[in-house]
């Protein structure tokens, strides 16, 4: 089996334009006769639904939340990248492309990333036209900030709520189409299977989460925009409901799952505080613009902090180890996420952690407060400010930049981050892997598309900050609405798709049987019990550092856990009506199968790259000693897994990656 990426011919910078000129279009009268299902209403799903409806297709959109506005894109904090070069600091489409490919450790598809960089500027124009209130400077023009892994300021933002503002923009465009009757919106519905007829995706089976009714919905194409699967780790920055089910059902119907082991562990999250914890909270990467990351240089100090007899703020400057600035002088605190996370783990593993569990490092704003305080005093004519004045002024500046994040931190931890350095630790945040798609964002099931975090396409082995929002909106607003026409142009004579064909009836029956199975298991333990155990296996053996022995153990443990789950899970309540435990049971069942595949993928990739760090593959000497060691000769490919009837039996198909417009180099941030 060979996967054809369908990348257009010609020079990199002309591929997208040329492709748009060459793909088939559907005339407006015919679009009215074509139905498209979109699953998910995050940035990718909402923007795709709105754009497809504007083009004239009949769109049916599904989300499990009570409103499309609640999808988890809403929680993205820091910003969105775009190669606008408004700052005149040397940014360009090529540089954004270069940074993204390099940041992804040369494991993404060149043509897709270039297209992403190319349409990025359009996104900002589009969002401003929709009334998205981005941050502006005093001249009334758009402001930018910097994110990790780059040397320019290209991130547009709306305080620490950029995701919210962008999603509400897409939600408003979607609402406009719902009002026009072009989008039929199904809130509180969950997709539970993909239906294939004659090899093509022709619809879905969905459960109405209020009545419990199982429904058959048909269409000419299905777009999966259901987000990522970080919740396989139980604790992550994902929303409680985020899940892999929609994508996983497509996988089990034949779509390849690509690079499932590429997981992003975000370096700046609030550390775990107890065993009851249900989720982790991110502190935006933008904090690394001004915050400095450190641990005590002396082990004795670290031990005293862990024992609660010493406070971080009392450690003098010379006894602090600003380890990122020390190890990576060129990028300092703004190294990419995978590098920053590993460095934090390295220090904590050596015993230098700064909370009672020893799993935390400091993110300190002391220098920033002093610097901003002096500047502000100077601007206001006070050339010799007192230390107190500097503190007051500096804190006010920091509050204006990061106020909502500081407030969020204080609410969760009960500590004032203006006075005490913040404590942070890496946490699971984003999954670069996902459904394999070609240049048109179509999976290898004809008519089944995947957009946003649900696909694998643009971020390689590590995603740069502020690039998820960019990709979600690029896919939904500017890529998919074009490329889907290429497929649908062959569907204009198909006519309405029947939803009572044997394929639909069979899929519906399987879904109902599965649900009955959960209700009838009548075991002893709630779903969360199994989810937590799955998360622990994944975090310990397939988390920030991985090795062959542990990965093999994890696979065995997950297999055993799955058997125990089906035998001993307890789902109270009824099939009909609201049943939140039943919803969770279905999701966790799929996460277990996915977890096994992630370990299998991590096991075959014996190199270290991006977020995937194999303890067996590190640089032994030279300037890069101790850093992750990539193996380009053997692993410059996308690992795409094909379902073979049973969990864990997937077969590996490789899509070789070619880099023609970028020199493949060691990723150095030193």
């Amino acid at each position: 089996m060979v996967l054809d990426s369908k990348t257009p011919e010609g020079p990199l910078k002309d591929k997208w334009t040329r492709h748009k000129n060459e793909i088939d279009l559907v005339n407006p009268a015919n679009k009215r006769n074509i139905d498209v299902i979109v699953v998910g209403t995050g940035l990718a799903g909402a923007s795709a639904s709105a754009s497809l409806a504007e083009l004239g297709y009949n769109v049916k959109t599904f989300c499990f939340q009570d409103s499309p506005r609640r999808a988890h894109s809403i929680a993205a904090q820091g910003g969105i990248n775009a190669a606008k070069n408004y700052q005149g600091d040397g940014d360009s489409t090529y540089r954004l492309f270069y940074d993204t490919v390099k940041g992804g450790d040369y494991r993404s598809r060149e043509s897709n990333v270039y297209r992403l960089a190319e349409v990025s500027a359009n996104i900002i124009d589009q969002c401003v036209a929709q009334g998205v209130p981005f941050a502006r400077d005093y001249g009334g023009l758009l402001d930018n900030r910097s994110f990790g892994g780059v040397l320019v300021s290209r991130t547009f933002y709306a305080k620490g709520q950029t995701g919210q503002q962008l999603l509400l923009g897409a939600y408003s465009a979607l609402s406009r189409q719902i009002a026009k009757g072009k989008v039929e919106m199904h809130n509180r519905h969950e997709m539970l299977d993909l239906v294939k007829v004659d090899g093509k995706a022709r619809g879905i089976i969905a459960r109405n989460l209020v009545t419990g009714e199982i429904q058959r919905h048909s269409a000419h194409a299905v777009v999966i925009a259901s987000g990522g699967y970080g919740n396989v780790f139980f604790l992550s920055t994902n929303a409680m409901g985020s899940n892999v089910t929609a994508a996983w059902k497509a996988h089990k119907k034949g779509a390849h799952m690509a690079n499932p082991c590429f997981t992003q562990i975000h370096p700046t999250c609030i550390p775990v505080s107890g065993g009851f914890q249900s989720k982790l909270t991110l502190m935006s990467e933008s904090l690394r613009n001004d915050g400095r990351i450190w641990v005590p240089a002396k082990l004795a100090d670290a031990k005293a902090i862990q024992a609660g007899t010493l406070q971080g703020r009392d450690i003098p400057e010379e006894d602090r180890d600003y380890y990122l600035e020390r190890r990576y002088p060129a990028f300092g605190n703004l190294v990419p996420r995978d590098v920053a996370s590993r460095a934090a783990k390295e220090r904590c593993d050596e015993g230098f952690g700064v909370n009672k569990t020893g799993e935390a490092v400091y993110l300190d704003f002391k220098s920033a407060i002093a610097r901003y305080g002096k500047e502000d005093a100077f601007v206001h004519g006070n050339k010799t400010p007192s230390a107190e004045e500097i503190q007051t002024l500096g804190k006010a500046v920091v509050a204006s930049k990061y106020g909502n994040l500081f407030q969020m931190y204080e609410k969760i931890t009960d500590e004032n981050p203006y006075e005490m350095p913040m404590k942070i630790y890496p946490a699971v945040h984003y999954t670069m892997g996902g459904l394999w798609v070609d240049y048109n964002l179509m999976t290898d099931i004809p008519g089944c598309y995947a957009a946003g975090e649900a696909n694998f396409s643009d971020h390689g082995a590590n995603r740069l900050g502020a690039s998820a929002l960019m990709q979600g909106l690029a896919d939904g607003y500017f890529v998919l609405p074009y490329t889907i026409g290429d497929y649908l142009s062959h569907e204009i004579r198909t006519g309405e798709i029947a939803n009572d064909s044997p394929e639909f009836m069979q899929a519906e029956k399987e879904v109902k049987d599965k649900i009955d199975g959960f209700i009838n298991a009548k075991g002893e333990k709630p779903v969360d019990h199994f989810h937590m155990r799955l998360g622990k296996i994944m975090w310990e053996k397939c988390g920030m550092a991985r090795n062959a022995e542990d990965l093999q153990k994890a696979i065995d443990e997950i297999k055993a856990l799955r058997i125990e789950f089906y035998a001993n899970v307890r789902v109270p309540g009824l099939v009909n009506g609201v049943n939140q435990e039943l919803e969770k049971a279905g999701r966790v069942a799929d996460l277990m199968e996915l977890g096994e595949l992630m370990c299998k993928d991590a096991l075959q990739r014996t190199e270290s790259c991006g977020g995937h760090f194999r303890e067996e593959s590190v640089e032994i000497d030279g300037e890069q000693k101790g850093e992750a060691k990539r193996d380009d000769e053997n692993f410059t490919f996308v690992s795409a897994w094909q379902w073979k009837g049973e969990s864990g039996n997937q077969e590996l198909v490789k899509e070789p990656l070619e880099f023609k417009d970028i020199a493949v180099k060691q990723r150095s941030y030193k």
């Binding site: 009570d66 969002c127 009334g140 409680m240 249900s278 969020m408 709630p526 609201v578």
Partner: protein
């Protein structure tokens, strides 16, 4: 700590509901309110009872799903927090906590603490957008400078998370704070001003149609709003509405 919880249980929109007592033990101050509910639900499931249904998702105060009326206040005793951001350190050992759903005619109860807030979606569908297609052929983002002050005010209004605490708090179950936040955001920006008059009239009409009450300027909504959305937005919406109706739009 040990707590006595008095929680509203209701099987469906048409069923009769009632307060039911539950005891929980071993609650720590660092737990969030919803984590405390998780613990209670785990215990109920292990005992073979049906867990308490409630809406929740992001658990970081931004999705607007969570919606509990705790001890007579929307989102409980904290200010500028949603239920998911409320921590148990705000309560004392031995305390009795009353937990109810949002109560409003326009928000019918689905089950237990879960209510139907789709009326909010329909208010936005009535006009809470700029009528621009997503074709990508818009002008450059910097071609219209917007004074920072206006952009900041628009942003503040736009941070509404649509949770419905304002409606639940208001003695008239009015949705003026929610509706005005969207009207104000778009009326402050040049992009939104073009269709401003139709927007305000259509959104206000939809709000009335959904069965929300009128505003009597009590200001309780602003106090309980987890995002601190200002009453000024209501004043701005009233101004927009008056000027639109005076110009003969209906």
């Amino acid at each position: 700590m040990k707590l006595l919880l008095k929680i509203w249980r209701q099987d469906g929109p048409k069923e009769k509901g009632q307060m039911v007592d539950y005891n929980v033990d071993g609650i720590e101050g660092d737990m969030s309110f919803l984590e405390m509910m998780d613990i209670l639900n785990s215990q109920l499931i292990e005992k073979g009872e049906e867990p308490i249904n409630f809406d929740h998702d992001c658990r970081e105060g931004i999705c607007g799903s969570c919606s509990m009326f705790i001890n007579g206040e929307a989102h409980g005793p904290g200010r500028n927090v949603t239920t998911c951001q409320l921590h148990m350190r705000s309560f004392k050992d031995g305390e009795t906590i009353f937990i109810e759903p949002w109560r409003a005619k326009a928000f019918p109860v689905i089950k237990d603490l879960m209510v139907d807030r789709s009326a909010f979606d329909r208010i936005i569908q009535a006009g809470g957008y700029v009528s621009v297609n997503t074709s990508g052929n818009t002008q450059d983002a910097n071609s219209i400078p917007i004074p920072k002050e206006d952009a900041d005010l628009a942003f503040d209004a736009a941070t509404c998370i649509g949770c419905g605490a304002c409606v639940a708090t208001c003695k008239n179950a009015s949705a003026m704070l929610f509706t005005s936040a969207k009207v104000a955001q778009l009326s402050l920006l040049p992009q939104g001003q073009v269709e401003g008059k139709e927007r305000v009239i259509n959104m206000v009409n939809q709000m009335d149609l959904e069965g929300f009450g009128n505003c009597t300027n009590t200001g309780a909504c602003e106090v309980e709003c987890p995002k601190g959305i200002s009453l000024d937005n209501i004043a701005r919406m009233n101004r927009e509405f008056l000027s639109a109706t005076a110009k003969g739009k209906k």
